[in-house]
Protein backbone atom coordinates (compact mmCIF):
# COMPACT_ATOMS: atom_id res chain seq x y z
CA UNK A 1 0.00 0.00 0.00
CA UNK A 2 2.82 2.40 0.86
CA UNK A 3 4.41 1.52 -2.47
CA UNK A 4 1.16 2.43 -4.22
CA UNK A 5 1.06 5.72 -2.36
CA UNK A 6 4.67 6.47 -3.25
CA UNK A 7 4.32 5.57 -6.91
CA UNK A 8 1.11 7.54 -7.24
CA UNK A 9 2.73 10.53 -5.55
CA UNK A 10 5.68 10.34 -7.91
CA UNK A 11 3.46 10.09 -10.97
CA UNK A 12 1.28 12.94 -9.72
CA UNK A 13 4.07 15.46 -10.38
CA UNK A 14 5.87 14.08 -13.44
CA UNK A 15 8.03 17.14 -14.14
CA UNK A 16 9.32 17.33 -10.61
CA UNK A 17 9.91 13.61 -10.62
CA UNK A 18 11.80 13.83 -13.92
CA UNK A 19 13.97 16.73 -12.73
CA UNK A 20 14.78 15.01 -9.44
CA UNK A 21 15.62 11.72 -11.11
CA UNK A 22 17.68 13.54 -13.74
CA UNK A 23 19.70 15.28 -11.04
CA UNK A 24 20.51 11.92 -9.47
CA UNK A 25 21.26 10.55 -12.94
CA UNK A 26 23.71 13.39 -13.62
CA UNK A 27 25.30 12.74 -10.23
CA UNK A 28 25.77 9.06 -11.02
CA UNK A 29 26.97 9.70 -14.58
CA UNK A 30 29.38 12.41 -13.40
CA UNK A 31 30.96 10.15 -10.81
CA UNK A 32 31.25 7.22 -13.20
CA UNK A 33 32.58 9.25 -16.12
CA UNK A 34 35.14 11.31 -14.21
CA UNK A 35 36.43 8.37 -12.24
CA UNK A 36 36.28 6.18 -15.33
CA UNK A 37 38.22 8.76 -17.33
CA UNK A 38 40.92 9.16 -14.67
CA UNK A 39 41.35 5.42 -14.22
CA UNK A 40 40.92 4.72 -17.92
CA UNK A 41 43.67 7.08 -19.00
CA UNK A 42 45.95 5.84 -16.24
CA UNK A 43 45.40 2.18 -17.00
CA UNK A 44 45.62 2.67 -20.73
CA UNK A 45 48.92 4.48 -20.28
CA UNK A 46 50.18 1.61 -18.12
CA UNK A 47 49.02 -0.96 -20.64
CA UNK A 48 50.86 0.83 -23.41
CA UNK A 49 54.10 0.64 -21.44
CA UNK A 50 53.38 -3.00 -20.72
CA UNK A 51 52.68 -3.45 -24.43
CA UNK A 52 56.25 -2.57 -25.32
CA UNK A 53 57.11 -6.03 -24.12
CA UNK A 54 60.03 -5.12 -21.87
CA UNK A 55 60.60 -6.80 -18.52
CA UNK A 56 62.50 -4.00 -16.78
CA UNK A 57 62.54 -0.20 -16.98
CA UNK A 58 65.66 1.76 -16.09
CA UNK A 59 65.39 5.49 -15.45
CA UNK A 60 67.73 8.11 -14.00
CA UNK A 61 67.86 8.63 -10.26
CA UNK A 62 64.92 10.52 -8.85
CA UNK A 63 62.80 10.31 -12.00
CA UNK A 64 59.09 9.92 -11.91
CA UNK A 65 57.22 6.86 -13.06
CA UNK A 66 55.21 9.39 -15.06
CA UNK A 67 57.27 9.64 -18.19
CA UNK A 68 55.94 13.10 -19.04
CA UNK A 69 57.58 14.36 -15.84
CA UNK A 70 60.85 12.58 -16.42
CA UNK A 71 63.86 14.79 -16.95
CA UNK A 72 67.62 14.40 -16.45
CA UNK A 73 68.43 11.86 -19.17
CA UNK A 74 71.09 9.18 -18.77
CA UNK A 75 74.17 8.62 -20.92
CA UNK A 76 73.30 6.41 -23.85
CA UNK A 77 76.42 4.32 -23.35
CA UNK A 78 74.85 2.82 -20.21
CA UNK A 79 72.89 0.71 -22.64
CA UNK A 80 76.07 -1.11 -23.70
CA UNK A 81 76.79 -2.07 -20.09
CA UNK A 82 73.22 -3.22 -19.58
CA UNK A 83 73.48 -5.56 -22.56
CA UNK A 84 76.42 -7.32 -20.91
CA UNK A 85 74.36 -8.40 -17.89
CA UNK A 86 73.49 -12.10 -18.02
CA UNK A 87 69.98 -12.97 -19.25
CA UNK A 88 69.49 -9.58 -20.91
CA UNK A 89 68.20 -10.20 -24.40
CA UNK A 90 67.71 -6.66 -25.69
CA UNK A 91 68.01 -3.06 -24.52
CA UNK A 92 66.08 -0.20 -26.12
CA UNK A 93 66.93 3.39 -25.22
CA UNK A 94 64.10 5.90 -25.44
CA UNK A 95 64.26 9.68 -25.28
CA UNK A 96 61.06 11.43 -24.21
CA UNK A 97 59.83 14.64 -25.75
CA UNK A 98 56.75 16.11 -24.15
CA UNK A 99 54.23 18.29 -25.95
CA UNK A 100 52.73 20.22 -23.06
CA UNK A 101 49.87 21.71 -25.08
CA UNK A 102 48.38 18.31 -25.87
CA UNK A 103 49.92 16.39 -22.94
CA UNK A 104 51.50 14.00 -25.44
CA UNK A 105 54.70 12.08 -24.90
CA UNK A 106 56.76 11.38 -28.03
CA UNK A 107 59.16 8.46 -27.90
CA UNK A 108 62.48 9.03 -29.57
CA UNK A 109 63.48 5.48 -30.47
CA UNK A 110 66.23 3.53 -32.14
CA UNK A 111 64.19 1.48 -34.57
CA UNK A 112 66.27 -1.68 -34.41
CA UNK A 113 66.64 -1.95 -30.65
CA UNK A 114 63.00 -0.97 -30.06
CA UNK A 115 61.95 -3.73 -32.44
CA UNK A 116 64.22 -6.16 -30.59
CA UNK A 117 62.48 -5.44 -27.31
CA UNK A 118 58.92 -5.02 -28.58
CA UNK A 119 58.89 -7.57 -31.35
CA UNK A 120 58.24 -4.83 -33.87
CA UNK A 121 55.27 -2.65 -34.71
CA UNK A 122 52.18 -3.79 -36.56
CA UNK A 123 52.20 -1.46 -39.53
CA UNK A 124 49.13 -0.33 -41.46
CA UNK A 125 49.34 -0.64 -45.24
CA UNK A 126 51.46 2.05 -46.88
CA UNK A 127 53.63 2.50 -43.80
CA UNK A 128 57.38 2.19 -43.44
CA UNK A 129 59.67 2.29 -40.39
CA UNK A 130 61.50 5.45 -39.25
CA UNK A 131 64.36 6.21 -41.58
CA UNK A 132 64.89 9.93 -42.03
CA UNK A 133 65.56 12.48 -39.27
CA UNK A 134 62.10 14.02 -39.35
CA UNK A 135 60.10 10.88 -39.94
CA UNK A 136 57.16 10.28 -37.63
CA UNK A 137 55.23 7.14 -36.78
CA UNK A 138 51.75 7.63 -35.37
CA UNK A 139 49.52 5.04 -33.79
CA UNK A 140 46.08 4.39 -35.26
CA UNK A 141 44.18 6.09 -32.41
CA UNK A 142 46.21 9.30 -32.67
CA UNK A 143 45.70 9.24 -36.43
CA UNK A 144 41.96 8.81 -36.04
CA UNK A 145 41.62 11.45 -33.33
CA UNK A 146 43.68 14.02 -35.24
CA UNK A 147 42.69 13.01 -38.78
CA UNK A 148 46.28 12.24 -39.69
CA UNK A 149 47.10 10.18 -42.78
CA UNK A 150 50.28 8.53 -43.94
CA UNK A 151 52.24 11.08 -45.96
CA UNK A 152 50.93 14.09 -44.02
CA UNK A 153 53.24 16.67 -42.53
CA UNK A 154 52.79 17.49 -38.86
CA UNK A 155 54.26 20.33 -36.90
CA UNK A 156 55.57 19.06 -33.58
CA UNK A 157 58.01 20.77 -31.25
CA UNK A 158 58.31 23.60 -33.78
CA UNK A 159 59.52 21.24 -36.50
CA UNK A 160 57.88 19.70 -39.53
CA UNK A 161 57.62 15.92 -39.37
CA UNK A 162 56.69 13.59 -42.19
CA UNK A 163 54.23 10.87 -41.26
CA UNK A 164 55.96 7.83 -42.67
CA UNK A 165 53.66 5.27 -41.15
CA UNK A 166 50.77 4.30 -38.96
CA UNK A 167 51.08 1.51 -36.40
CA UNK A 168 48.69 -0.38 -34.16
CA UNK A 169 48.38 1.34 -30.78
CA UNK A 170 49.68 -0.17 -27.60
CA UNK A 171 53.46 0.06 -27.72
CA UNK A 172 54.50 2.82 -25.37
CA UNK A 173 53.65 6.11 -27.03
CA UNK A 174 51.32 7.35 -29.72
CA UNK A 175 54.07 9.19 -31.59
CA UNK A 176 57.56 7.93 -32.43
CA UNK A 177 60.49 9.83 -33.92
CA UNK A 178 64.13 8.83 -34.41
CA UNK A 179 66.16 8.74 -31.20
CA UNK A 180 68.81 11.15 -32.47
CA UNK A 181 66.21 13.69 -33.57
CA UNK A 182 64.60 13.58 -30.14
CA UNK A 183 67.99 14.12 -28.51
CA UNK A 184 68.88 16.98 -30.86
CA UNK A 185 65.57 18.75 -30.26
CA UNK A 186 66.33 18.85 -26.55
CA UNK A 187 70.04 19.46 -27.13
CA UNK A 188 70.91 16.34 -25.19
CA UNK A 189 73.10 14.30 -27.54
CA UNK A 190 73.83 10.69 -26.67
CA UNK A 191 71.35 10.66 -23.85
CA UNK A 192 68.31 8.51 -23.06
CA UNK A 193 65.36 9.09 -20.74
CA UNK A 194 64.69 5.40 -20.21
CA UNK A 195 65.94 1.96 -21.15
CA UNK A 196 63.48 -0.79 -21.89
CA UNK A 197 65.15 -4.10 -21.07
CA UNK A 198 63.95 -7.47 -22.29
CA UNK A 199 65.23 -10.58 -20.54
CA UNK A 200 65.78 -13.92 -22.17
CA UNK A 201 62.96 -15.12 -19.93
CA UNK A 202 60.57 -12.98 -17.87
CA UNK A 203 61.44 -15.16 -14.85
CA UNK A 204 64.87 -13.51 -14.76
CA UNK A 205 63.40 -10.03 -14.38
CA UNK A 206 64.03 -9.73 -10.64
CA UNK A 207 67.52 -11.16 -10.84
CA UNK A 208 68.42 -8.89 -13.74
CA UNK A 209 66.91 -5.91 -11.92
CA UNK A 210 69.10 -6.68 -8.90
CA UNK A 211 72.14 -6.94 -11.13
CA UNK A 212 71.35 -3.56 -12.69
CA UNK A 213 70.97 -2.01 -9.25
CA UNK A 214 74.43 -3.33 -8.39
CA UNK A 215 75.76 -1.84 -11.57
CA UNK A 216 73.95 1.51 -11.52
CA UNK A 217 73.67 2.84 -8.00
CA UNK A 218 70.80 5.21 -7.44
CA UNK A 219 69.08 4.60 -10.75
CA UNK A 220 65.40 3.77 -10.86
CA UNK A 221 65.26 0.11 -11.80
CA UNK A 222 61.75 -1.28 -11.91
CA UNK A 223 60.44 -4.61 -13.17
CA UNK A 224 57.42 -3.89 -15.33
CA UNK A 225 55.08 -5.46 -12.79
CA UNK A 226 56.31 -3.03 -10.16
CA UNK A 227 55.87 -0.16 -12.58
CA UNK A 228 52.28 -1.23 -13.29
CA UNK A 229 51.54 -1.40 -9.60
CA UNK A 230 52.64 2.23 -9.29
CA UNK A 231 50.21 3.36 -11.96
CA UNK A 232 47.29 3.82 -9.62
CA UNK A 233 45.42 6.91 -8.58
CA UNK A 234 47.02 6.63 -5.13
CA UNK A 235 50.44 7.35 -6.60
CA UNK A 236 49.40 10.22 -8.83
CA UNK A 237 49.71 13.52 -7.06
CA UNK A 238 46.31 15.19 -6.76
CA UNK A 239 44.33 12.58 -8.70
CA UNK A 240 42.56 11.16 -5.69
CA UNK A 241 41.89 14.68 -4.45
CA UNK A 242 40.45 15.51 -7.87
CA UNK A 243 38.26 12.41 -7.83
CA UNK A 244 37.12 13.23 -4.30
CA UNK A 245 36.20 16.79 -5.28
CA UNK A 246 34.26 15.57 -8.32
CA UNK A 247 32.42 13.02 -6.19
CA UNK A 248 31.60 15.64 -3.54
CA UNK A 249 30.28 18.05 -6.17
CA UNK A 250 28.22 15.31 -7.81
CA UNK A 251 26.78 14.08 -4.52
CA UNK A 252 26.16 17.71 -3.54
CA UNK A 253 24.07 18.24 -6.68
CA UNK A 254 22.01 15.13 -5.96
CA UNK A 255 21.63 16.04 -2.29
CA UNK A 256 20.47 19.59 -2.98
CA UNK A 257 17.99 18.65 -5.69
CA UNK A 258 16.48 15.82 -3.64
CA UNK A 259 16.38 18.08 -0.58
CA UNK A 260 14.56 20.78 -2.52
CA UNK A 261 12.26 18.30 -4.23
CA UNK A 262 11.25 16.54 -1.02
CA UNK A 263 10.97 19.82 0.88
CA UNK A 264 8.58 21.08 -1.79
CA UNK A 265 6.74 17.78 -1.70
CA UNK A 266 6.27 17.94 2.05
CA UNK A 267 5.06 21.53 1.87
CA UNK A 268 2.69 20.75 -0.95
CA UNK A 269 1.38 17.64 0.79
CA UNK A 270 1.03 19.12 4.24
CA UNK A 271 -2.69 18.42 4.23
CA UNK A 272 -2.16 14.85 3.04
CA UNK A 273 0.34 14.28 5.82
CA UNK A 274 -2.31 15.60 8.21
CA UNK A 275 -4.76 13.06 6.76
CA UNK A 276 -2.30 10.22 7.32
CA UNK A 277 -1.78 11.42 10.88
CA UNK A 278 -5.53 11.56 11.47
CA UNK A 279 -5.64 7.91 10.37
CA UNK A 280 -3.06 7.11 13.03
CA UNK A 281 0.10 7.09 10.93
CA UNK A 282 3.12 7.28 13.23
CA UNK A 283 6.11 9.55 12.75
CA UNK A 284 8.09 6.54 11.59
CA UNK A 285 5.43 5.74 8.99
CA UNK A 286 5.51 9.31 7.62
CA UNK A 287 9.32 9.35 7.56
CA UNK A 288 9.34 6.00 5.78
CA UNK A 289 6.94 7.28 3.11
CA UNK A 290 9.13 10.33 2.38
CA UNK A 291 12.43 8.42 2.47
CA UNK A 292 11.09 5.62 0.29
CA UNK A 293 9.85 8.16 -2.22
CA UNK A 294 13.34 9.70 -2.30
CA UNK A 295 14.77 6.20 -2.58
CA UNK A 296 12.58 5.44 -5.58
CA UNK A 297 13.61 8.71 -7.24
CA UNK A 298 17.23 7.72 -6.61
CA UNK A 299 16.70 4.25 -8.06
CA UNK A 300 15.22 5.71 -11.24
CA UNK A 301 18.03 8.28 -11.35
CA UNK A 302 20.70 5.62 -10.89
CA UNK A 303 19.39 3.53 -13.79
CA UNK A 304 19.10 6.60 -16.02
CA UNK A 305 22.57 7.67 -14.83
CA UNK A 306 24.05 4.35 -15.93
CA UNK A 307 22.48 4.90 -19.32
CA UNK A 308 23.78 8.46 -19.58
CA UNK A 309 27.27 7.32 -18.59
CA UNK A 310 27.30 4.53 -21.18
CA UNK A 311 25.99 6.74 -23.99
CA UNK A 312 28.31 9.64 -23.09
CA UNK A 313 31.26 7.25 -23.06
CA UNK A 314 30.39 5.98 -26.54
CA UNK A 315 29.98 9.50 -27.90
CA UNK A 316 33.23 10.74 -26.31
CA UNK A 317 35.23 7.79 -27.59
CA UNK A 318 33.74 8.20 -31.06
CA UNK A 319 34.89 11.82 -31.18
CA UNK A 320 38.07 11.47 -29.12
CA UNK A 321 39.51 7.98 -29.75
CA UNK A 322 42.52 8.58 -27.49
CA UNK A 323 40.23 8.96 -24.48
CA UNK A 324 39.79 5.87 -22.37
CA UNK A 325 36.86 5.75 -19.98
CA UNK A 326 36.53 2.67 -17.80
CA UNK A 327 32.99 2.23 -16.52
CA UNK A 328 33.56 -0.37 -13.85
CA UNK A 329 31.03 -2.35 -11.87
CA UNK A 330 32.85 -1.29 -8.71
CA UNK A 331 32.29 2.40 -9.38
CA UNK A 332 28.77 1.76 -10.62
CA UNK A 333 28.05 0.33 -7.18
CA UNK A 334 29.90 3.19 -5.43
CA UNK A 335 28.00 5.77 -7.48
CA UNK A 336 24.70 4.09 -6.62
CA UNK A 337 25.56 3.99 -2.93
CA UNK A 338 26.60 7.65 -3.00
CA UNK A 339 23.43 8.63 -4.85
CA UNK A 340 21.18 6.77 -2.44
CA UNK A 341 23.08 8.10 0.57
CA UNK A 342 22.95 11.66 -0.77
CA UNK A 343 19.24 11.32 -1.46
CA UNK A 344 18.50 9.88 1.97
CA UNK A 345 20.42 12.69 3.67
CA UNK A 346 18.68 15.21 1.42
CA UNK A 347 15.25 13.76 2.17
CA UNK A 348 15.82 13.28 5.89
CA UNK A 349 15.13 16.85 7.01
CA UNK A 350 11.94 17.17 4.93
CA UNK A 351 10.87 13.77 6.27
CA UNK A 352 11.49 14.86 9.86
CA UNK A 353 9.64 18.08 9.19
CA UNK A 354 6.69 16.12 7.84
CA UNK A 355 6.72 13.77 10.83
CA UNK A 356 6.71 16.69 13.25
CA UNK A 357 3.80 18.49 11.62
CA UNK A 358 0.98 19.22 13.99
CA UNK A 359 -1.97 17.18 12.64
CA UNK A 360 -4.49 19.93 13.39
CA UNK A 361 -2.41 22.55 11.58
CA UNK A 362 -1.69 20.14 8.74
CA UNK A 363 -5.38 19.35 8.23
CA UNK A 364 -6.16 23.07 8.14
CA UNK A 365 -3.39 23.73 5.57
CA UNK A 366 -4.68 25.34 2.38
Amino acid sequence: MVNKLIVSNILYRPIRTAVSALAVAIEVAMVMLFVGLAHGLLNESAHRVEGVGADILVQPAGSSFLFALSQAPMPLKIGDRLKEIPHVQAVAPVFFNFISTSLTVIYGIDMASFDDVSGGFSYYPGSRPLRDSYDLLVDNLYAKANHVKIGDTLTLLNHQFHVCGMVEHGKGARLFIPLQTAQDLMQEPDKASLFFIKCTDPGYADAVADAIRQLLHGYQVRPVNEYLSLMTSNNLPGLNAFITVVVIIAVGIGFLVIFLSMYTTVTERTREIGILKSLGASKRYIIAVILREAGLLSAVGIIVGYGIAAVTRKVLIAYFPTLFIELTMQWAVYAAILAVAGSMVGAFYPAMRAARLDPVDALAYE
Binding site: V2, I275, L276, S278, G280, A281, S282, D358
Partner: protein, 223 residues
Protein backbone atom coordinates in the same frame (compact mmCIF):
# COMPACT_ATOMS: atom_id res chain seq x y z
CA UNK B 1 -21.20 0.75 31.96
CA UNK B 2 -18.02 2.82 31.44
CA UNK B 3 -18.64 5.84 29.22
CA UNK B 4 -16.64 5.87 26.00
CA UNK B 5 -15.96 9.60 26.43
CA UNK B 6 -15.60 11.33 29.76
CA UNK B 7 -14.12 14.81 30.12
CA UNK B 8 -13.74 16.78 33.30
CA UNK B 9 -12.80 20.45 33.43
CA UNK B 10 -11.22 20.06 29.96
CA UNK B 11 -9.33 23.17 28.93
CA UNK B 12 -7.38 23.94 25.80
CA UNK B 13 -5.38 27.09 25.27
CA UNK B 14 -3.87 27.91 21.91
CA UNK B 15 -1.06 30.37 21.51
CA UNK B 16 -1.35 32.57 18.47
CA UNK B 17 1.90 34.52 18.57
CA UNK B 18 1.96 36.03 22.06
CA UNK B 19 -1.79 35.85 22.47
CA UNK B 20 -3.31 32.97 24.43
CA UNK B 21 -6.65 31.83 23.03
CA UNK B 22 -8.86 29.81 25.38
CA UNK B 23 -10.66 27.46 23.01
CA UNK B 24 -12.07 25.17 25.71
CA UNK B 25 -12.86 26.57 29.14
CA UNK B 26 -13.76 23.65 31.34
CA UNK B 27 -15.78 21.13 29.36
CA UNK B 28 -17.51 18.34 31.27
CA UNK B 29 -19.24 15.75 29.19
CA UNK B 30 -20.03 12.07 29.14
CA UNK B 31 -20.84 10.00 26.05
CA UNK B 32 -21.81 6.35 26.29
CA UNK B 33 -21.09 3.63 23.82
CA UNK B 34 -23.62 3.45 21.00
CA UNK B 35 -24.77 7.04 21.39
CA UNK B 36 -25.09 9.44 18.47
CA UNK B 37 -24.25 12.88 19.81
CA UNK B 38 -24.31 16.13 17.89
CA UNK B 39 -22.31 19.11 19.11
CA UNK B 40 -23.65 22.40 17.85
CA UNK B 41 -22.67 25.97 18.33
CA UNK B 42 -21.54 29.07 16.47
CA UNK B 43 -18.16 29.33 14.76
CA UNK B 44 -15.32 29.72 17.23
CA UNK B 45 -17.26 28.19 20.12
CA UNK B 46 -14.64 25.43 20.50
CA UNK B 47 -16.52 22.49 19.01
CA UNK B 48 -13.79 21.66 16.48
CA UNK B 49 -11.15 21.92 19.19
CA UNK B 50 -13.21 19.54 21.33
CA UNK B 51 -13.30 17.08 18.44
CA UNK B 52 -9.53 17.40 17.90
CA UNK B 53 -8.85 16.76 21.58
CA UNK B 54 -11.28 13.81 21.72
CA UNK B 55 -9.63 12.40 18.60
CA UNK B 56 -6.18 12.73 20.10
CA UNK B 57 -4.99 15.04 17.34
CA UNK B 58 -3.94 17.51 20.01
CA UNK B 59 -3.51 17.21 23.71
CA UNK B 60 -5.52 19.05 26.37
CA UNK B 61 -3.92 21.94 28.23
CA UNK B 62 -5.49 20.80 31.48
CA UNK B 63 -8.33 18.70 32.79
CA UNK B 64 -9.13 15.07 32.17
CA UNK B 65 -10.06 13.37 28.88
CA UNK B 66 -10.91 9.70 29.07
CA UNK B 67 -11.65 7.95 25.80
CA UNK B 68 -12.46 4.27 26.12
CA UNK B 69 -10.77 4.41 29.50
CA UNK B 70 -7.54 5.98 28.25
CA UNK B 71 -6.54 9.30 29.79
CA UNK B 72 -5.33 11.48 26.92
CA UNK B 73 -3.98 14.06 29.34
CA UNK B 74 -1.37 11.53 30.48
CA UNK B 75 -0.55 10.07 27.09
CA UNK B 76 2.27 11.11 24.77
CA UNK B 77 1.64 12.20 21.23
CA UNK B 78 2.86 8.80 20.00
CA UNK B 79 0.51 6.99 22.40
CA UNK B 80 -2.47 9.04 21.24
CA UNK B 81 -1.52 8.34 17.63
CA UNK B 82 -1.44 4.61 18.34
CA UNK B 83 -4.79 4.83 20.11
CA UNK B 84 -6.31 6.82 17.26
CA UNK B 85 -5.07 4.24 14.75
CA UNK B 86 -7.10 1.49 16.39
CA UNK B 87 -10.03 3.19 18.08
CA UNK B 88 -11.03 6.38 16.26
CA UNK B 89 -12.33 7.19 12.80
CA UNK B 90 -12.57 10.70 11.41
CA UNK B 91 -14.92 12.18 8.84
CA UNK B 92 -14.11 15.73 7.77
CA UNK B 93 -16.08 18.52 6.18
CA UNK B 94 -13.65 18.64 3.24
CA UNK B 95 -13.57 14.84 2.84
CA UNK B 96 -9.75 14.84 3.09
CA UNK B 97 -9.16 11.98 0.70
CA UNK B 98 -5.65 11.44 -0.63
CA UNK B 99 -5.88 12.85 -4.16
CA UNK B 100 -3.34 10.51 -5.74
CA UNK B 101 -5.06 7.32 -4.62
CA UNK B 102 -8.21 5.65 -5.87
CA UNK B 103 -11.25 5.37 -3.61
CA UNK B 104 -10.31 1.73 -2.98
CA UNK B 105 -6.79 2.65 -1.89
CA UNK B 106 -8.01 5.59 0.19
CA UNK B 107 -10.04 3.11 2.19
CA UNK B 108 -7.41 0.38 2.21
CA UNK B 109 -4.66 2.68 3.48
CA UNK B 110 -6.52 3.01 6.78
CA UNK B 111 -6.32 -0.77 7.18
CA UNK B 112 -2.66 -0.67 6.22
CA UNK B 113 -1.84 2.02 8.76
CA UNK B 114 -3.72 0.06 11.41
CA UNK B 115 -1.35 -2.79 10.60
CA UNK B 116 -3.86 -5.62 10.44
CA UNK B 117 -3.54 -5.96 6.68
CA UNK B 118 -6.24 -5.84 4.07
CA UNK B 119 -9.51 -7.47 5.15
CA UNK B 120 -11.47 -8.10 1.92
CA UNK B 121 -14.61 -9.28 3.73
CA UNK B 122 -14.83 -6.17 5.86
CA UNK B 123 -13.92 -4.01 2.87
CA UNK B 124 -16.67 -5.50 0.72
CA UNK B 125 -19.23 -5.12 3.47
CA UNK B 126 -18.42 -1.46 4.07
CA UNK B 127 -18.36 -0.65 0.35
CA UNK B 128 -21.76 -2.28 -0.14
CA UNK B 129 -23.24 -0.59 2.90
CA UNK B 130 -22.15 2.82 1.64
CA UNK B 131 -23.01 2.08 -1.99
CA UNK B 132 -19.61 2.87 -3.46
CA UNK B 133 -18.75 -0.44 -5.16
CA UNK B 134 -18.94 1.17 -8.60
CA UNK B 135 -16.69 4.05 -7.62
CA UNK B 136 -13.82 2.19 -6.01
CA UNK B 137 -11.43 2.61 -8.92
CA UNK B 138 -12.04 6.34 -9.27
CA UNK B 139 -9.75 8.99 -7.90
CA UNK B 140 -11.31 11.69 -5.68
CA UNK B 141 -11.37 14.31 -8.44
CA UNK B 142 -13.63 12.01 -10.45
CA UNK B 143 -16.16 11.68 -7.63
CA UNK B 144 -18.97 14.00 -6.59
CA UNK B 145 -18.94 15.57 -3.13
CA UNK B 146 -21.45 13.03 -1.84
CA UNK B 147 -19.45 10.14 -3.23
CA UNK B 148 -16.22 11.51 -1.75
CA UNK B 149 -17.86 11.80 1.64
CA UNK B 150 -19.15 8.24 1.42
CA UNK B 151 -15.61 7.06 0.63
CA UNK B 152 -14.38 9.12 3.59
CA UNK B 153 -16.97 7.46 5.86
CA UNK B 154 -15.91 4.05 4.54
CA UNK B 155 -12.29 4.90 5.35
CA UNK B 156 -13.30 6.05 8.83
CA UNK B 157 -15.19 2.87 9.72
CA UNK B 158 -13.16 0.26 7.80
CA UNK B 159 -11.11 -0.56 10.90
CA UNK B 160 -14.21 -0.82 13.06
CA UNK B 161 -13.38 2.08 15.38
CA UNK B 162 -14.87 2.48 18.82
CA UNK B 163 -15.62 6.11 18.11
CA UNK B 164 -16.53 7.94 14.92
CA UNK B 165 -15.80 11.67 15.02
CA UNK B 166 -17.44 13.69 12.27
CA UNK B 167 -16.46 17.31 11.74
CA UNK B 168 -19.24 19.09 9.82
CA UNK B 169 -19.69 16.06 7.52
CA UNK B 170 -22.43 17.78 5.52
CA UNK B 171 -20.79 21.21 5.41
CA UNK B 172 -19.70 20.89 1.79
CA UNK B 173 -22.71 18.99 0.46
CA UNK B 174 -26.03 19.95 -1.07
CA UNK B 175 -29.18 19.07 0.84
CA UNK B 176 -29.79 15.80 -1.00
CA UNK B 177 -26.27 14.51 -0.41
CA UNK B 178 -26.31 15.89 3.13
CA UNK B 179 -29.37 13.82 3.91
CA UNK B 180 -27.83 10.74 2.32
CA UNK B 181 -24.63 11.10 4.35
CA UNK B 182 -26.59 11.72 7.57
CA UNK B 183 -28.68 8.65 6.87
CA UNK B 184 -25.54 6.59 6.45
CA UNK B 185 -24.04 7.82 9.68
CA UNK B 186 -27.34 7.25 11.38
CA UNK B 187 -27.47 3.78 9.84
CA UNK B 188 -24.02 2.93 11.15
CA UNK B 189 -25.14 4.02 14.58
CA UNK B 190 -28.42 2.15 14.54
CA UNK B 191 -27.30 -1.01 12.75
CA UNK B 192 -23.87 -1.51 14.25
CA UNK B 193 -24.05 0.49 17.45
CA UNK B 194 -21.32 2.78 16.22
CA UNK B 195 -20.70 5.59 18.69
CA UNK B 196 -20.79 8.89 16.79
CA UNK B 197 -19.89 12.37 17.87
CA UNK B 198 -20.74 14.83 15.14
CA UNK B 199 -19.99 18.51 15.03
CA UNK B 200 -22.30 20.71 13.06
CA UNK B 201 -23.75 24.17 12.99
CA UNK B 202 -26.75 22.91 11.03
CA UNK B 203 -29.78 22.28 13.30
CA UNK B 204 -31.33 19.92 10.74
CA UNK B 205 -28.22 17.78 10.73
CA UNK B 206 -28.07 17.82 14.51
CA UNK B 207 -31.67 16.68 14.66
CA UNK B 208 -30.78 13.18 13.44
CA UNK B 209 -28.66 12.63 16.56
CA UNK B 210 -29.97 11.08 19.80
CA UNK B 211 -28.58 13.90 21.82
CA UNK B 212 -27.52 17.47 21.12
CA UNK B 213 -24.85 19.33 23.06
CA UNK B 214 -24.79 23.11 22.69
CA UNK B 215 -21.50 24.96 23.06
CA UNK B 216 -20.66 28.61 23.36
CA UNK B 217 -17.40 30.33 24.21
CA UNK B 218 -15.59 27.11 24.95
CA UNK B 219 -18.20 25.75 27.33
CA UNK B 220 -21.17 23.41 27.14
CA UNK B 221 -24.24 25.50 27.74
CA UNK B 222 -26.86 22.81 27.36
CA UNK B 223 -27.00 19.04 26.96
Amino acid sequence: MEPIIATHDLRKVYRVGKVAVEALRGVDCIVHEGEFVAVVGPSGCGKSTLLHVLGGLTGPTSGQVLVDGNDFSKMTDADRTRFRRHKIGFVFQRFNLLPTLTARDNIAIAQHIQGNGFNPHRFQGVAEMLGIQEKLDHRPFALSGGEQQRVAIARAVICDPKLLLADEPTGNLDSENSQAVLNMIRGLNKSFGQTVLMITHNPEAAAVADRIIHMRDGRIISD
